[in-house]
Symmetry: none
Subunit: 213 residues, 4 copies
DNA sequence: AATGAATGAGAGTTCATTCAT
DNA sequence: GATGAATGAACTCTCATTCAT
């Protein structure tokens, strides 16, 4: 009895590890080649296993892709908005946040993943939905929450903090995300990102600082 | 001689028309299914012709796709930024421009086309380049030109009009383009677009209006 | 009446010239690519005309090929054995003949044509037959005739002059034709050919010179 | 471990057998139709399998053809020259060898294979090279070796044994190989072959027997 | 659970041939 | 007679998926 339990556990652990390995390969392959051009054979051979094994873990290419999307949403997207917003000057706080967002958003893997999502979202809206909710949506909420607290402190003046948050993020990525995703510019350096982040924060605060009456 | 010229012309006209027809089908099919999933057989049958005929006009799928991209870039993207910027109040002018940009940007066909471009740009940077230069790049230039003229009139204050133009467009599409492309929201109504455009123009002008010293 | 006849004649002449032109292109294309790989489109475009025109002259690819084979048999193969056999010493005469045979046999166009024939003869024996009778068969007959005359003069001793002629030609091409046709050696120089021809004649005469009893 | 080894072995045996089967079909189809006209679909259907299976064993038509050529070179061509040369009278020895060469050379499968090689060698010299070295080249070497040993025994007189060997083989096939390959004559009977072989040996020895000085 | 051979539908592409102009 | 657009069958090759071992 005990032994069988341990066996199960061991197997299950091994199974989990194998699954992770497959998802790791899937990430590389889907990112590099896109959904349609990626082949199960290719993934299997990169895995060092057989196609049969692959199909033991994911019963179709579609399912593997879905698992990949979920996996990436969970482990990658969320982190951009995680760090605490500390400090007092709204410009500093927003600039810091913008920097983290840009760093995550403009990384090679992020652009590749984003392209994948955009492409598949046309045929399957739930893909876009899942992605949006796993990260961007939370990010906007978080910025909006901060703006509300800043408004409470009289540091900003905004009628609609959610829209203001979206505007802020629009400023932050302006001119960069677009060009990255079209493969026109390479991943920017940390300095470039920092400069852009600060500029966006300053522009935003000029627009949203309370006016002297 | 005359007859042969007329023949040539007639044939050439017919050929041109057929070519247009093919590009029309190609637009639908590529938009609906993406590059990889679209099949030449499918396009040919929708055309009501044979695959051989298709290949008489475009010698490969790749070439058909390239022609489609160029066609769309020429006839669709450019128009968004074409209309003249008339009026005196910068907010009005910018809001009018934003409205046209958003209308063009958020249309169903535009989103589908954009997704296609983004997806293919990962494997073939020239696709993204061609798209960028056919429209967005000109649009940014146009906004920047206007901002410079406004600055000359003392209506705005900006150190770098190109960056300001990018920020403006970032504000304009903030929260909308992203969600459209992820297939989360439907095409917005004209009223929603107008409201968003005005808000972006106002926010921008709050940030860039000259400060009383 | 007269005019119509002249028209006919003129047309017919023009038609003949066009036909020759087509056969000229066909020769190049079939030689370079083989029957199956040669395409009617390719021939038509090299001709500077349309496929429709091509089909006005030859009603199928097969027929064009047949015409090409016949054309080549008539104009190329026969000449090798044409020149008169003059002189007195059989070695000189045979060496001279061997030289002409080898020159014709080992030329680039001859090897290409031979390969074509061999390949098609498997599916269509009449091709091989036509080729054989247009040239090689006459060549053997001619050598045999000479050998008979030489025998009458007591210069050689042979029970069967046709077989002896075949043996002679076997000696002549030994080691060369085979390697040429397998694309192992390039077209030999005139000197190499002359040496080989003489050696074959000498070997042959050592075998067939009348024995002193 | 043992089981897995056995499995591997079994699978590998089955795989090897299937491969042989495919090569068997390939031989028939390529021989009957030539390289270009043979279709993978046809081969697959004759095999009783699917095209996919075929492509699991040979990753392209070209590769299947190359394997076929190598296979035939190994199993067919080499044997003609293998048997030992025993006896004392050079005429007997050479006649015996000639008989075996002719038997191998004039068989139906050999002619078909030779035509295939000749045809493909025009576009791909390595095909001709591989064929030549797998058989004919060794055959010439073998005859030359014998001639050298005979010369050492004073049985023949030749300045250049390799050329003499080529001449011998030229005599042997004279009039036969050519006509066979052009599909003019059927496979000769064993008696015809024996007679031809003896005649060639006799002619050769008349030319190369040492002369009484 | 793992394997990898087998499958068959379907992809892109080519080509000999036809026919209206 | 010349043209070249149209055709559709056939080609090579790929791939997601299944299944016996």
């Amino acid at each position: 009895m005990v032994k069988s339990l341990m066996n199960e556990k061991r197997l299950s652990v091994a199974r989990g590890a194998r699954r992770e390995a497959i998802l790791g390969i899937a990430r590389e392959v889907f990112s590099a080649e896109g959904y349609a051009a990626a082949s199960m054979s290719h993934i299997a051979s990169r895995l060092g296993g057989s196609k049969g094994t692959l199909y033991n873990y994911f019963k179709s290419k579609e399912e593997l892709f879905a698992a990949h999307v979920q996996d990436q949403c969970e482990c990658r997207v969320a982190e951009a908005f995680a760090p605490p917003l500390v400090g007092d000057d709204p410009v500093d706080i927003l600039a810091g946040l913008a920097e983290r967002v840009l760093t995550a958003l403009l990384a090679d893997e992020a652009t590749a993943f984003y392209s994948l999502i955009v492409s598949e979202a046309q045929r399957n809206p739930s893909v876009g939905q899942a992605f949006y909710e796993s990260g961007p949506s939370k990010g906007i909420r978080r910025v909006a929450d901060y703006l509300e607290s800043a408004q409470a402190k009289g540091q900003i003046a905004s009628d609609d903090c959610v829209m203001a948050a979206e505007e802020f993020l629009g400023l932050v990525q302006s001119g960069l995300h677009f060009k990255r995703v079209l493969n026109i510019i390479p991943q920017p350096s940390a300095d470039e990102i920092r400069a852009k982040a600060r500029r966006a924060a300053e522009t935003f605060m000029r627009a949203y600082a309370p006016r002297p009456s």
